[in-house]
Symmetry: C3
Subunit: 210 residues, 3 copies
C-alpha cells in the first residue's frame, strides 16, 4: 500500500471513530437529530478546526471535502434508527482501535502543520495534542459534561504529546516529512494501545482523595 | 415599506428576540447582572460572531453599532428589576414570532455572506444555519446546560437549513440578492411557524427509548 | 523599581494567581493531570487569547514565552501531589490580592491593545474586561459549571469595566500610554479591593427571589 493511501485510510478511519464516539455521547444524552449530528461533527472536526483557528489557517480542512458531510448525516440518522442499547458497549469497544490510529495521526500531522507555520517546538506539540484531543473536549462541553479527557485519568492526550515530540525530533534530525509523520503517529498510537492494555492511570489530586 | 427598512426592522426585532431569550435563560439560572448581560449578548450576537470567526471576517458586525449595547444593558437592568415570575411565560410566547423572523433572516443572510466568501453550497448553508442557531447554543453552554437546540426535538435548525438551500437555489438561478434573501428568510420563518403550529418533532434515538 | 519591571512583576503575579485559581477549580472537580493543566491554562491565558482571537492578532502572546509552560506544568504536578484539603481555603485567600492586581493590569492593557487596533471606545473597554474576566469564564465552562463571574454577584467584571474607561479617558486627554495603563489598572484593582472589603453585591433578578 503506498504511503498516501495508508495516510488517507487512517485519516478516514480515525475521523469515523471520532464521529461515532460523538454519536454514542449524543445517544447517552438523548439528543435529537440536530444535536447528535452537531456533537458528532464537533467530536470529529473540532480538534483540527481549533488548531486552524489558533494558527489562523483558512479555509478549514473540511471546506473542500464538504460532500462527506452528507454521508455522516446519513450515518447519524441510521444510528438513531437502528442502534440498540445492547450495541453501545460493542460499538465503544470496536472504535477503540481506529480511535487510537486517529489519535496518533492527528497528533503527528497537527504538530507538523504547526511547525510549518513557524511555531516553537513546545507550542507545536501542544497544537498537535489539541488536534487529537480537543474534539472530544468540545463534544463533552457541548453536552454540559466535564470532558472525559480531563477526568477519566487515561493518558490519552499524554500519548499524543509524546508522539508530537518524536515529530519534532525527526524534523530536527532532518528526516523527510513522511517518515517523521508515521514515526510520531506510531509512537502515539502504540503508547495509547499500551496504556489501555496495562490500564495505566494519570496522577490524581491528593486533596481529592477520601 | 422599502426593502432596506423592512430588512432593518426584521434584524432589530430578531436580535431583540434572541437577546430577550438570553435574559429569560439568565433569569431561570439566577445569574447576576454581569452574567445576564453576557449570556444575552451571546444569545443575540454569538451566531453571527461564530460565522465571522470561521470565515475570518473582521471587524465583527457589532463593532460599528456598539452604542446599541448601552440600550441592551439598560434593558437587562430593567428586566432584572421589573420582570416578575408571572411574566416569564407571556414573554416567552411573545418573542416566539420575532424569534422566527430572526431565524429566517439570519439563516438567509448568513448563507449569502458565506457564499460571497467563496464557500461551497453545503458549507454556506451550514454557516447560515449556524448564524441563526448557534447563539442559543452558546447561551446554553455558557449556562452549563445541554443546548435546547440539541435536545428539544423541535426542527429549529432544520428550518434554517431549508431556508439556506433556497438562497443557494436563488443564487444558482441568477436571482438578485434582495429577493433571494427574502425568499430564503420567508421559507425558514414559515417552516418554523408551521412546525410550531403542527408540533412536529425531530427523530429521537431508538437506544434512548424506554 | 522602573515601570517595565513593575509591569512584568504584576503580569507574572496576576498570571500565576489566575493559574492557581484554575488549579483549585480542577482540584474541586477532581480532574486528572491533563485536565488540571488544561483548565489552569484556560484560566490564565483564556482571556487574552479570546481578545486576540476577536482582534485577529497573531501570534498569540503565549507563543514567544512558551518555555514558561514547563514551569506551570511542574507547578500543576507539585500541587496535585502536595496540596492538602486544608490548604485550599488558605490558597484561595492568598491569591485574592495578586488576582486583583492581574484583574487591573489585564483590563487596562486589554483596553489599550483594542484601542490601538482601532476599536471604538465601548468595544475596547469590553475587550479589556474580557481579557481580565474571560479566562475564569472559560475555566468554569470547561468544568461544566455556571461561570462564577456570571452568578457570584461580585462586581469583578464591573471593576475591570471601570478601569477600562479610565484608560479611554487617559487616551482622550493625551496621557502617555504608561501612566494611562497604570491609572486604569489601579482603578480596577482598587475597586476590586474596595468591593471585596465592603462585600458589595451586584443586582439580582426580582423574578429569582423567593
Amino acid at each position: 500500500m503506498p504511503l498516501d493511501l495508508l495516510h488517507l485510510t487512517i485519516e478516514v478511519a480515525g475521523t469515523l471513530a471520532f464521529f461515532i464516539a460523538g454519536l454514542l455521547t449524543a445517544a447517552r444524552k438523548r439528543l435529537d437529530a440536530v444535536g447528535s449530528f452537531s456533537v458528532a461533527c464537533l467530536s470529529a472536526f473540532g480538534g483540527g478546526t481549533m488548531r486552524d483557528l489558533l494558527l489562523d489557517r483558512r479555509p478549514f480542512f473540511w471546506v473542500h471535502n464538504a460532500d462527506w458531510l452528507w454521508g455522516l448525516l446519513l450515518l447519524t440518522l441510521l444510528a438513531m434508527r437502528y442502534l440498540d442499547r445492547r450495541h453501545v458497549a460493542t460499538t465503544q469497544r470496536a472504535i477503540q482501535w481506529p480511535d487510537a490510529l486517529g489519535l496518533g495521526l492527528f497528533a503527528a500531522s497537527g504538530t507538523q502543520i504547526a511547525l510549518a507555520a513557524g511555531m516553537p517546538a513546545l507550542i507545536a506539540v501542544l497544537m498537535g495534542t489539541m488536534t487529537a484531543a480537543c474534539g472530544g473536549v468540545l463534544r463533552d462541553i457541548a453536552c454540559a459534561e466535564v470532558p472525559a479527557a480531563f477526568n477519566d485519568h487515561q493518558p490519552y492526550a499524554v500519548c499524543a504529546f509524546a508522539g508530537g515530540w518524536l515529530v519534532v525530533l525527526g524534523e530536527h534530525l532532518g528526516w523527510p516529512p513522511g517518515p517523521g509523520l508515521f514515526a510520531g503517529a506510531a509512537l502515539a498510537c502504540g503508547l495509547r494501545g499500551w496504556t489501555l492494555w496495562r490500564g495505566i492511570r494519570l496522577p490524581e489530586w491528593r486533596a481529592g482523595r477520601r
